[in-house]
Symmetry: C2
Subunit: 339 residues, 2 copies
Amino acid sequence: MKGISIKDIAKQAGVSPTTVSFVLNGKAKEKRISEQVSKKIQKIATRLKYKPNQLARGLRTGKTKTIGLIVEDIANNFFASLAKIVEDEADKYGYKVLYGSTEDNTEKAKGLLEVLKYRQVDGYIITPTKNLDKEIEQLQTAAKPLVLMDRYFPHVSSHYVVLDNFKGAYDATAHLAKQGYKKIAIVTIASDQTQMKDRLDGFAAALKDHKLTFSKSLIKRLPFDLDRESFNNEIKKFLTSIKDIDAVFFATNYLGISGIESIRSLGWRIGKEIGLVGFDDHDLFRLHSPSITCVSQPIHAIGKNIVDVLMKELNHPSAHTQQIVLAPELIVRESSSRT
Amino acid sequence: MKGISIKDIAKQAGVSPTTVSFVLNGKAKEKRISEQVSKKIQKIATRLKYKPNQLARGLRTGKTKTIGLIVEDIANNFFASLAKIVEDEADKYGYKVLYGSTEDNTEKAKGLLEVLKYRQVDGYIITPTKNLDKEIEQLQTAAKPLVLMDRYFPHVSSHYVVLDNFKGAYDATAHLAKQGYKKIAIVTIASDQTQMKDRLDGFAAALKDHKLTFSKSLIKRLPFDLDRESFNNEIKKFLTSIKDIDAVFFATNYLGISGIESIRSLGWRIGKEIGLVGFDDHDLFRLHSPSITCVSQPIHAIGKNIVDVLMKELNHPSAHTQQIVLAPELIVRESSSRT
DNA sequence: CATTACAGGTAAAACGTTTTAGCAAAATAC
DNA sequence: GTATTTTGCTAAAACGTTTTACCTGTAATG
């Protein structure tokens, strides 16, 4: 089952492989191939269902029509949904996607970059981990098109598409304040990267603007790599340690899920004794009783923007980098209404 | 940033590219390259951090160390979790994964196969759609290693790894029966593929074994490609059409989710007026009030088996095909207890 | 009529590997 | 001391494209 090659077409058409290549790449006019020959080659090509061997083409041109997608965790709802959109959008441009999960582990991320590099992907979509800035800069100096997502490095000028995390957290917290909650805590991930820093900052700013208590003791930063059991235990310990706590904001979807579980096992009634807001929408949040208020990301827009920026960069590399910050939407539900 | 090539190493070592290739492919002894030269080449290679150009290698050998993964929907929890495991397992063998979602659409599936083919993947992991049997057979006669997952074609002898769907549905239904539910319905997807057929059969067999009513009117088969709104409407229409219905089994995770939503909007109390069992475990099922009984798939075992079978086939193609059927686990929760 | 221009193509190199076939020198056999 | 085998290595082809440089014949130019 050897595939059809350009030579086969050439033979059938009685011309040279060169001519076939020209025609099939749309350079017929430019290279002055006659209408006749051109048509003939086209016909034979479609009849034989010729598909160029991407390896050979890649070897010659250096372009593989493949992009690398590095996410935090493909099993996470948010990243999985995004991956689907990226796949669809990339497909429109004829690109395929190679993916990998970092688990928020820098070594794993470096490994993935390495693999993608010698697989010669044309461009990268990267959810960077903590110390990946050096690698990102290296890719940039090598003029590799790349787009960061979900988070970025403030000191590195690169393309990125992220959520307005500050606004997301601010809105969530302000909403809780307006609902009359007085002592609001946050549970987040111990990360100094922008997405978490901005969420924390938004939280703090909203507290300040609404003249609510703000202290270190209202913040819990958990390591990323705990299992659910440990998340639950840590969250319970934290929540019970705060006197008069009446609301909590969970800064990621999986923290929110653990949060719900923890609070219930404490016997507190969500929306009554304790207000709750989560991050990223989820079927669970919509259908939970009570339903869970959350900050929702415009996943479709994010995916589309990422691919559009990357494709623009692939086709017309430009000096100036594009930073896209999309607005979140606060979806108000029962978990934050004191009634 | 041209990569280091075998020629660069050859030049530095003062030998021919051939020799370098032999050494780096572990054929030093076989090809009688001296210890000295061998060591020297190894050293230079690691010093220069040589990584073979996979395109060139692939072009020459026909092997790309890439496998194609075709799922129904990468945004679906089950497939996303599986994709992660497949990625990890494949990585252990040095393989990367190209993926795509079919949306249960045969044309899309054919398109994906086409793309994967001319990307020259070494092997395929396929969640087949309805009429994909011809394509599967074609791949087989072309001696392409492939493993089907989630479902298979009874009339095609191929490797596959699936759940014991009959048992899953049987256990779920029998459980409902034992709990005292009398009129049990099923909502499934209108598909004649094995996974759905077996679930339906398991459901029917359990009803029969427990001497419960079984009639066509207790079965609802919905098209795959509805949006959630339509799923909900259809499910509501169906459930209200059955007199004295007191339990329902949803044969996929997304149907279960829609089912919960529908039943609630009907004002029925899950676990009281109506017993409910879902398919595939999900955070939502665990944390819903009441919590949802479900048939859970051993995702990790599935993923590992799939990759193991594929790798065996890649390395030692054999005549006999392997059919692996894994046992589901019924996770009993509140939605099926009449108390 | 001699020159130039252009139309319509092709030969061959290159991309970076792997692999087959073979060569020269050293070692062994008789 | 010649014939054979073994050792240690290499030249060159091949994988399927793309692309540069050129070639040949005809038409236009002066």
